[in-house]
């Protein structure tokens, strides 16, 4: 992990949210999709806690974060930062997505959900660098995304032309309520799961639980190495000291900044 000053070089509005492109070569070169960056917001000591972001675009010189259109005070401050201003970044945190060498067909699954449901910084946008990279490596990529509103879907022009894109509108999940079968990306899974060599997913824990159910139904078993998910966690130190980010996984209580944030789906739901 490094602490680095990044310069805001581009701002793009998308709906009420914003994308900020930050020049920080040393960080950008070490980042992969699914790794977190902790960004300082505000002036002085408030807000004190850094905001968690996952890159939505990466190149050799810069990385891009997406500021959601929510009421968070750190996000509100970021939406006002002037071009040319510097932001203090700590990253990268943990392990990102990694497509195994022999995987030809990559299935990416995303859910657009508010941070209160999905977790800090978690959104389907975090899959974009992995999608771009997989497509550039000549792999076949399918991306299925669900959102509550059409305006929250990722525009198709943001994806490489070769990516097969499926979208679905579904009502927001209600935590601890059983999923309605066949809505959202679930409707595509009977066709896409048998085709996929590897799955990369970003969404809420309920979304991952439905994914595990679908994999078991369609492929008859959920084996280690088939699906990687971006696990939601509130990071404070990012280096394993504070124990703020612990989660109860199938194998016990672990610090997500050390074990994740990208985990095998089996680690989350167990083998059974």
């Amino acid at each position: 992990m490094i602490q680095i000053t990044a310069t805001l070089i581009e701002r793009r509005s998308l709906g009420a949210g914003q994308e900020l492109r930050l020049r920080a070569p040393a960080l950008a070169r070490s980042l992969t999709a699914g790794q977190a960056v902790l960004v300082q917001t505000g002036c002085g000591l408030a807000p004190y806690l850094r905001r968690v972001f996952y890159p939505i675009a990466l190149d050799d010189e810069s990385w891009t974060l997406r500021v959601p259109a929510d009421g968070d005070w750190g996000h509100a401050w970021l939406r006002t930062v002037a071009i040319g201003a510097t932001l203090d970044c700590l990253g990268s945190v943990g392990n990102g997505f990694s497509v195994p060498a022999g995987s030809r067909n990559v299935l990416c699954l995303g859910e657009d959900a508010p941070a209160s449901v999905a977790g800090p910084g978690i959104s389907a946008w975090a899959l974009l660098p992995a999608i771009v990279q997989a497509a550039s490596e000549g792999r076949a990529v399918a991306f299925a995304l669900e959102a509550a509103l059409a305006r929250d879907l990722i525009p198709s022009q943001r994806l490489p032309a070769a990516v097969e894109y499926h979208t679905a509108i579904r009502p927001p999940r209600i935590p601890d309520r059983p999923a309605s079968p066949g809505v959202g990306v679930a409707q595509f899974l009977p066709e896409l799961l048998p085709w996929a060599d590897v799955v990369l997913a970003a969404g809420s824990l309920a979304f991952y639980s439905e994914l595990a159910t679908a994999v078991r139904a369609v492929r008859y078993e959920l084996g280690r190495g088939f699906a990687q998910i971006l696990y939601p966690a509130a990071f404070l130190c990012g280096v394993g000291a504070c124990q703020a980010c612990v989660a109860d996984l199938a194998t016990g209580r672990h610090r997500i900044c050390q074990r994740g944030p990208v985990l095998d789906l089996v680690d989350v739901v167990g083998e059974a």
Binding site: L49, L236, C237, G238, V239, A241, C242, A244
Partner: protein, 269 residues
């Protein structure tokens, strides 16, 4: 050198006035970027209990204005595992290591303290007194640990009760006082749940400062260490002026390690 145990036969001499507070660098195995042992006069471990503790359930962090609440529930792998995994490395570090005793496990304290007497990797103990303790409790607890070990013993007090509890701690054998853990507070997590625990971060600093000043005015014969929300050079200087001999940094190392480095360098002059 800053002597934190002037009345103890074992010295606890700090080469620098800044300590890494409890768990700030894990068991000296979790280093934020740019942070190294050489910056500190001593390192304090996370609270350790005799048996492993799973600690609080996930969802341990909530933000407050200029601060946060973090409730780990003294999560730790237990004394033996900690010693197996880390004691060798502690012996190699050229900085004193203090083992923190979990405030929630009073019954373990004499057992752990006794075992550490002959451990070369551990230079002393930091006993964490929980909020709501009475002077009689503090006298009992400190007395138990004091009888179990001759090692330097720091006692960390809740900042809002520091002046009330300090005489009992010193009377029972504390070598130094750490002021202290932040006042009990509550905040709402991102998922809407309420989290209760000690206030941390800069929001806790005013409570630290008033606690340090109040204990210093008592004129007790032991060194005072200030810890809790110290983030700026001005905070550290205010603590020294109020009577602290050393300070502890914790959350600053996590949130802005570069600022912690600047603070340490500024204090070195």
């Amino acid at each position: 050198m800053i002597e934190l145990a002037p009345h103890n036969k074992h010295s606890l001499a700090l080469a620098a006035p800044v300590m890494a507070g409890s768990g700030a660098v894990g068991y000296a195995d979790a280093w934020p970027p740019g942070i190294s042992a050489t910056m500190f006069g001593a390192l304090v471990t996370p609270p350790v209990s005799w048996r492993p503790r799973r600690g609080h359930s996930p969802g341990r962090l909530a933000e407050t204005p200029a601060g946060f609440i973090l409730t780990t529930g003294d999560h730790n792998p237990g004394f033996r595992r900690v010693m197996d995994d880390h004691a060798l490395e502690w012996r190699r570090l050229a900085v004193p290591i203090l083992m923190a005793l979990a405030g929630s496990t009073v019954e373990d304290w004499d057992r752990i303290a006794g075992r550490l007497e002959e451990e070369p990797g551990v230079a002393g103990l930091e006993l964490h007194v929980t909020a709501g303790a009475r002077p009689v409790d503090v006298a009992n607890w400190v007395g138990v640990v004091r009888r179990a070990t001759t090692l330097p013993l720091l006692v960390k007090l809740p900042s809002s009760q520091a002046a009330t509890l300090a005489p009992a701690a010193v009377g029972a054998g504390a070598d130094a006082l750490v002021i202290g853990s932040g006042p009990l507070a509550a905040a709402v997590r991102q998922d809407g749940a309420r989290l209760t625990g000690p206030l941390a971060g800069p929001a806790a600093f005013p409570f630290t400062l008033v606690g340090v000043a109040a204990v210093a005015e008592l004129g007790l014969s032991v060194p005072i260490v200030a810890g809790g929300g110290i983030c700026r050079l001005e905070d550290a200087q205010a603590c020294f002026r109020a009577g602290a001999m050393a300070i502890q940094l914790r959350s600053l190392l996590w949130v802005d390690p570069a600022a912690a480095v600047r603070l340490v360098e500024a204090l070195r002059g």
